[in-house]
């Protein structure tokens, strides 16, 4: 260890903000007369990324603890479908609880297998992803389930409070609570310790298995909430919800400065990473690029961003 290391690490942490600013400035310059800077469009970006941001917060805990969750995308769909189905007969509050419980149950199964059967989370969640995706298809019969409960749609979708859209409030709430839990509590420190060096964590008295279980339950809870946000926004639940979020959210979290192999994580970084992904999709569409070019450019920018943020600060 040398004294220059923290400085470099700190600089590394700022890269995502610089990247975000750079891309924002680029689109602002290119698209100043094509709607990019309109308040509506900028709000759209935040609304569109709200479920991904919620998922990203959960994933920061998982990655920081040295684990991974590949099943959260499928859990989003299952939670949304369960919530929508339960809501039809039991009312929306019960539906909300059922959706959240579904996400947490998925996390509990993942976590129990990872923590107590000592199987790698990569393989466990890869397998449960298939099981959950299949269950979502089976339960819904490959159909969309409409969501009609007005209060639910207002709270989790299109409503607003004091002029602030509810999806923005959810994003802020989850990010703030997640950040405080991660940075300011003993629990957050334990998560990082387990991810950094599980053996040392165990020796120092941290219940490593319980931490591993808890991060996956947390990720499941976030998936449940994201499922509710999707169901509220689309006023329907469908088995494909969340599927395409897997790669976007992992990329957002890594770009934001969380280490893929544990011991380092940042929730504000994940928020900015998620917004960056949303802004990229938005700006590339507004530029009028063909779909193939949108994909190629987005992929290249993510590659560059990941390459920059994944470089180890002390090597």
């Amino acid at each position: 260890m040398t004294s220059s290391l923290p400085t470099r690490a700190a600089l590394q942490g700022l890269i995502v903000y610089a990247g975000f600013a750079l891309i924002f400035l680029f689109f602002s310059a290119m698209l100043w007369d094509r709607g990019f800077l309109s308040a509506q469009n900028l709000t759209n970006i935040i609304l569109q990324t709200a479920p991904a941001t919620v998922l990203a917060v959960g994933l920061v805990f998982v990655l920081a603890a040295g684990e991974i969750d590949l099943s959260f995308g499928a859990a989003v769909a299952l939670a949304a479908i369960v919530a929508a189905m339960v809501m039809r007969t039991q009312g929306w509050p019960v539906g909300v609880l059922a959706g959240l419980a579904t996400g947490m149950a998925v996390g509990l199964v993942n976590g129990a297998i990872v923590a107590y059967a000592r199987l790698p989370s990569f393989l466990v969640t890869l397998a449960t992803m298939g099981v959950i995706a299949g269950a979502a298809r089976e339960m819904s019969g490959l159909q969309s389930i409409p969501v009609t409960a007005e209060p639910f749609i207002a709270i989790f979708g299109g409503g607003s409070l004091l002029g602030i859209p509810s999806l923005v409030l959810w994003t802020i709430g989850v990010v703030v609570v997640g950040h405080l839990a991660f940075r300011e509590t003993r629990y957050g420190a334990h998560v990082l310790a387990v991810g950094d060096n599980p053996r040392a964590a165990l020796v120092s008295g941290i219940r490593v298995a319980r931490v591993r279980l808890s991060v996956l339950v947390l990720s499941g809870a976030c998936a449940g909430l994201a499922g509710l946000l999707y169901a509220g926004r689309l006023q329907a639940a469908r088995y494909t919800l969340g599927e395409s979020d897997l790669m976007t959210v992992i990329a957002a979290v890594i770009v934001g400065g969380t280490a893929l192999n544990g011991g380092r994580g940042t929730i504000p970084g994940a928020l900015v990473g998620s917004l960056m992904m949303g802004m990229l999709s938005n700006g590339l569409i507004l530029m009028g690029l063909s779909v193939s070019w949108q994909m190629m450019i987005k992929g290249l920018i993510i590659l560059i961003a990941v390459a920059v943020s994944l470089r180890e600060p002390n090597r």
Binding site: S38, N41, G141, N282, G288
Partner: protein, 355 residues
């Protein structure tokens, strides 16, 4: 990915192919019983075109997924917009993700296009996705299925699709030709509640039974998941070895049936299916098991959608449901049939195999 599946993903337009497999012939109608109008009825005069060119109009596309068929629809619309002086300002691909399509449409609206042409991923999410479009003053035209909860004439201009009754009729005719009007057929249908494929399947069955008495349907099997098609075809051919023709609801599973026939060495069984794709066309070009593929006028759907949008910009009346026809593509007319449907040349592999 295939078009029937995705069309099927959209569910809501109950284009009623009435009285299926019963007495009355299948007829294509709109969700509220609107009659289907032929898309080639849409005509723009020189004066109309001059007005459009002077109007400085713009257009955008929001696709459910892009592949052979939807790219041809897109090309048809682009070429027509080009002719009419309407500039295409954005195109998006939702990759079957309803949430992404909602985001795509919101993003597109920031550009305030005059026209939006779209194929909805999920009709049930219709109002959430498209509710703001007409309020923004953008003319909306649906391909294949309108979104639920939207009113034609108020929220959107029209729906453009292929005539499923015609597709069913052509498929039956192709099967009859392949078997010389005499044989035993295995019928594989899409076993899920997807109106688009359901109606085509049933129209095929009705036409076959009613018009070709020499052909007997000896086995019926439902397919819920295209990935399981090989198991289904294996069982069907093992239990009914007398089968010499198989109907498959679209080309992706037809490739699975093809592979089963190859494994079994059954060169005597003919396949008829719907939509063009390269491997199936290649087998057909080589004189393999695929006898015919039914192809709708995908490019024409795009042209019609662009015209419908343009007419509505000029405040002219447009029929609520516009349909294009479909034709039989077999080895003899493969190149022409491919061009007619997709307005592109067949892939080089297919051209080489035809030599």
């Amino acid at each position: 990915m295939t078009r029937p599946l995705l069309s099927a993903l959209l569910l809501s337009l109950s284009l009623g192919t009435a009285a299926l497999a019963q007495d009355a012939a299948p007829v294509t109608t709109g969700p509220n019983g609107e009659p289907a109008a032929p898309a080639d009825k849409l005509v723009l005069s020189d004066a109309d075109i001059a007005k459009l060119k002077a109007g400085g109009y713009t257009a955008a596309f929001s696709w459910h997924e892009l592949y052979d068929w939807s790219s041809a629809v897109s090309r048809g619309a682009r070429d027509e917009f080009d002719r009419l002086g309407i500039k295409v300002v954005a195109e998006t691909n939702a990759s079957f993700d309803a949430a992404r399509q909602t985001a795509d449409v919101e993003t597109i609206l920031a550009l305030k296009p005059s026209v939006l042409i779209t194929l909805p991923v999920d009709s049930a999410a219709g109002v959430a996705t498209y509710g703001k479009v007409s309020a923004a003053g953008t003319k909306l035209v649906f391909i294949d299925n309108p979104a639920e909860g939207m009113t034609v004439g108020k929220d959107y201009v029209a729906t453009v699709t292929s005539d499923r009754a015609i597709i069913g009729a052509r498929t039956a005719e192709a099967m009859a030709a392949a078997l010389h009007e005499k044989g035993k057929v295995g019928y594989i249908f899409h076993d899920a509640n997807f109106p688009v494929t359901n109606q085509r399947d049933q129209a095929f069955l009705w036409n076959l039974k009613t018009r070709f008495p020499g052909i007997e349907v000896v086995a019926k099997a439902g397919m819920a998941d295209p990935a399981r098609i090989e198991d289904i075809a294996n069982a069907m051919l093992t239990q009914n070895p007398e089968i010499n023709g198989i109907y498959v609801p679209w080309t992706e599973p037809a490739l699975g049936v093809l592979s089963v026939l190859r494994q079994m060495g059954r060169q005597d069984v003919r396949i008829v299916s719907i939509d063009l794709n390269e491997p199936a066309a290649l087998d057909m070009a080589k004189g393999g098991s695929v006898s015919a593929l039914i192809a709708d006028d995908a490019y024409g759907i795009g042209t019609a959608a662009a015209r419908a949008a343009a007419l509505s910009l000029l405040d002219q009346k447009v029929d609520p449901l516009l349909v294009v026809g479909a034709g039989i593509v077999s080895k003899d007319n493969l190149v022409d049939g491919w061009r007619a449907s997709l307005h592109a040349d067949p892939p080089q592999s297919v051209l080489d195999a035809l030599k």
